[in-house]
Chain length 578, copies 2
């Protein structure tokens, strides 16, 4: 990981790849790397689909090592959805493989002058960028099957589906998992559309012949990793809840506290939540021969993923995440768990962000295109996106776009990006994150659900405005740092609750790089990353007025607690006063 | 004009109208009135289609008097197209009639809770707001025929077509002309969608029994009007060019100077311009029994309008304006003048902004939905909008929206609003106006074409950046003032060139209101209006970064002069330093 691979897709005579030393980007990984490069190199007022935008793909600082949980990969660019900077990250295998191939980042620059589609292949011998129009409009599963046939099964792939090729703002970038399935997505902000605009369909990575990255102090590193894993195993969330039921363990919890957005954010509790909860899902998965406990990449010890089989016992999709089950489920009034799993598969196959699509279908239902609760109608709507029909062109550009197309006023978006599975009126801390994150509405940017609801790492009353600004600030800083390490964000539950586990994380970084990082260093890194991002957004024309929830969250009461979002604007403006 | 009519469309038990004194808005008319009310009363971060937005309709200060050219009406609101403040104005009869009915403004507030559609009827006896769902989805021509059947032909109407009901961002508000046809549109910024969101289909005005508004000093007023009319008649633009050929006299002129945007702003000269020029159009109109010289409202002495008959000699539409002929013509490579006239009719009938729609069709052609030059295909695309099909929902939301739907990068918009018929690279002064006007890309906001191309009121080289900022600044100030008087903007040609005509305008205002206005007072009024607007936009989150042309205008050379837009960003930021 001592070099950056730059591929100029618009070079005269065809794409040209060059390798450059890290230079000013030395020491960065993951989100720190993508946000540094985007902020420094992309003109903030460029069109997100133009040659001036860059797509940066970066494994985390610890990716490619034996460290547990280090399989996250960050994707950054100017977002076609928000118009601001974007970092979306994913699990799966590519982070590990890319890191072992020695690349701290791949930067896709320029764009082809014609409509040619390219495949990028990287192995120990170098980089090949070859035109391959036979890949056009292939869904992700077919694409990956083709790559497997061509390159064997020792590969990891980063790809786009038809949605990315059609440059839709809800288009994701898929990463393959351990079974070489395109199930882990850098979902948010339309990063897939930017990859599509670069004319790159798939990046195939093969690390055969490459070694595991080696730490400066191997013994200390092994020891730190051991303590780190122990910490994760002993924490109730990472050691029990997530392994047993996956992220969907949250359905019952959020529904119970009245923070589960239902019928396009009209109420905070869904009468049929039990039918789509993690408990129900896990039971069904096991019954049908799937898996309720499973990792998305090698080295994962939390195992929050799973495998979902259809009624006939055949693979349908990976275990849908909580946010997906919510988006396509409760948010649309749908309680048919098989329909939700099919929607998860379709989103993965077309290359679409499940959160954005669920919010979009909810708006389409509010506009009268389908009835709330109709799973089959929802499936047909998502199929329109895959077809690229006119209706699909509307839906594939996300919730705000669909609301505008049909004159719907109630669009739950911030900076153009759809809100995830936590109503900001009933979980006010995450509302602060939605409003102020440079990413637009994003729960992962500062997951105050932990303290507001789960009571992990602190206890802040979810329904009151007090303390939420400080909470979101601290979480946004910590998250920006964790997103740079390559570590799965779920380590935060244990790291925030258990000082020893936090120290083990520091020891991993220090023993690997020969550094002397402290808690303060982590905070400084997080602040630096946020500063890159906020600086970009400011130069793109964002002001505090974009750091706001839609006004109806301040006037429309959310049952059952009949609450509004109460954090004052002037307090939101203090989030980044550090 | 000593009262404001406010209609709360969302009142309990149905719409409720109240009349209030002018209060702090005394002395304002037209754009000054709409921008003052919107800036003061509308929350800048509200949803443009929400109950919090207000639609303000205001005749100018001199409307309803015998003063020539005083028939402009202003419509203001938060724009669903730009997200900023909007003032769009139109000719036709409503300004005069509304002013004589005594109203300085109608303010539509709130919104109905159900989908009921209302008709507002105003005459000397008062105001009636009645539900009438039989009007739903009526095109403007059918609607006005129905109003004529119900209320006789002494009325003037302000209405929306299906596009406004569907809350499309390209929806206009139609005003009837002297022949009671819905041909004069407050076109820009989606004001029709806001009227649609208020549930108001049509405002029928009947001033039977009301008198002409009387000046403080009738004799001086008559004398000033006489001099004013003389000045207009003796100026070559207002006395000869516009009466003879209408605004479309500009096609040959702009084409000749290479500033005529062709094929979606790819070149500055259209090889077939002669086929759709004002000269060709006027000849055809006369030959078919239409009119080449005609006024859009009583009291007009410029007579730049006309009547366009089809091949069989039947009325098809009013004489299409230059910007319409350009938008649906050269911008789409179309040189079939009958197809363009049909598009003008369809836009008027559905209630759509012709500039936005022409720019939209140009982008649809760039996206491959139709071939450049295919008039029939363009007609079919606009018909989709009228139908409200999924494709129509895309196109009806304008150029930027359509570009996003189809992943087209080259969208000639500023603040989301499509550029009109003057390429900013070849007419750099109007480029400064496009970039910086609080309205988004709008030629009327500071028509530097006059000095850059027509050499009226000054001479500034169109292809060079020097002097354009001062020029645009002065024009934006003057325009904001003229737009407040109710005067047609075309008086500016004579007023800017002839000191006596400018003095006559001041004398009209002074003798009517008993004031002592000077040139400085007019400048102060213009600055005040712009300050209202810029203050609103600032609170809505706009910064200098929104005061920019799309970046390709700074890199893509425009033939035949092979020029780029050269005014520097830091100079754009000086436009409002006064």
């Amino acid at each position: 990981m001592d070099k950056i691979l730059r591929i100029d897709m618009g070079a005269e005579g065809g794409p040209r790849s060059t390798e450059t030393p890290l230079g000013e980007y030395a020491g960065f990984g993951g989100r720190a790397m993508t946000s540094a490069i985007v902020s420094k190199e992309v003109p903030p007022l460029c069109h997100a689909l133009s040659a001036e935008n860059k797509l940066v793909i970066s494994p985390g600082m610890l990716s490619g090592t034996i460290a547990a949980m280090s399989g996250r990969i960050s994707v950054g660019c100017k977002s076609p959805l928000t118009g601001g900077i974007k970092e979306a990250n994913a699990g799966g295998q590519p982070a590990q493989v890319l890191a072992r191939l020695g690349y701290a980042a791949i930067v896709l620059e320029g764009k082809p002058k014609d409509g040619t589609l390219y495949k990028v292949f990287i192995n120990k011998d170098g980089v090949k960028v070859a035109p391959d129009n036979s890949l056009k409009m292939l869904p992700n599963y077919d694409l990956i099957a083709k790559m497997k046939a061509e390159h064997g099964d020792k590969i990891a792939c980063i790809s786009i589906g038809p949605a990315g090729e059609m440059k839709m703002s809800a288009a994701s970038i898929a990463c393959t998992d351990m079974e070489l399935r395109p199930t882990r997505h850098a979902g948010r902000g339309g990063v897939g559309a930017v990859m599509g605009s670069k004319g790159v369909k798939v990046i195939v990575l093969d690390d055969t012949g490459m070694k595991m990255r080696s730490p400066k102090d191997p013994e200390k590193f092994r020891e730190a990793n051991k303590k780190f894993v122990e910490g994760l195993r002993q924490h109730p969330v990472t050691g029990q809840g997530l392994p047993a039921y996956g992220t969907n363990v949250l359905t019952n919890i959020l529904n119970e506290v009245g923070g589960y957005p239902t019928y396009n954010f009209k109420q905070g509790r869904f009468e049929s939540a039990g039918k789509i909860s993690g408990e129900t899902q896990a039971e069904l998965e096991v019954k049908r021969g799937g898996l309720a406990t499973h990792g998305c990449h090698r080295g994962c010890v939390i195992q929050c993923s799973g495998v979902y089989h259809d009624k006939d016992g055949h693979y349908l999709t990976k275990q849908p995440e909580y946010e997906t089950v919510w988006a396509h489920g409760g948010n649309c009034g749908i309680c048919d768990i098989d329909a939700i799993a099919m929607l998860d598969f379709l989103d993965d196959n077309y290359g679409l962000d499940t959160i954005e699509m669920g919010a979009t279908i909810g708006i389409a239902m509010e506009a009268g295109l389908a009835k709330f609760g109709d799973g089959e109608a929802a499936i047909n709507l998502v199929k329109e996106v895959g077809k690229g029909s006119y209706l699909g062109r509307i839906l594939g550009n996300g919730a705000a776009f669909t609301a505008k197309a049909f004159g719907v006023e109630r669009a739950p978006v911030v900076k153009g990006q759809a809100m995830p599975a936590y109503d900001p009126r009933a979980v006010q801390g995450v509302g602060v994150t939605y409003a102020t994150s440079p990413m637009g509405a994003d729960h992962t940017a500062g997951y105050a659900v932990a303290q507001n609801v789960l009571k992990v790492g602190g206890d802040v009353n979810a329904l009151k405005p007090e303390g939420q600004v400080e909470l979101s600030r601290n979480l946004q800083i910590a998250t920006a740092a964790i997103d740079s390490t390559g570590m799965c964000l779920f380590i935060a539950f244990a790291v925030l609750d258990q000082p020893d586990t936090f120290q083990a994380l520091l020891d991993l970084l220090n023993s690997f790089y020969g550094l002397d990082l402290t808690a303060d260093s982590v905070t400084e890194l997080g602040k630096k990353v946020l500063s890159f991002e906020r600086d970009f957004n400011s130069r793109a024309g964002f002001t505090v007025q974009q750091d706001r929830l839609p006004r109806y969250f301040k006037t429309e009461l959310l049952p059952p607690h009949n609450v509004i979002f109460q954090v004052k604007d002037e307090d939101l403006d203090k989030v980044f006063n550090w």
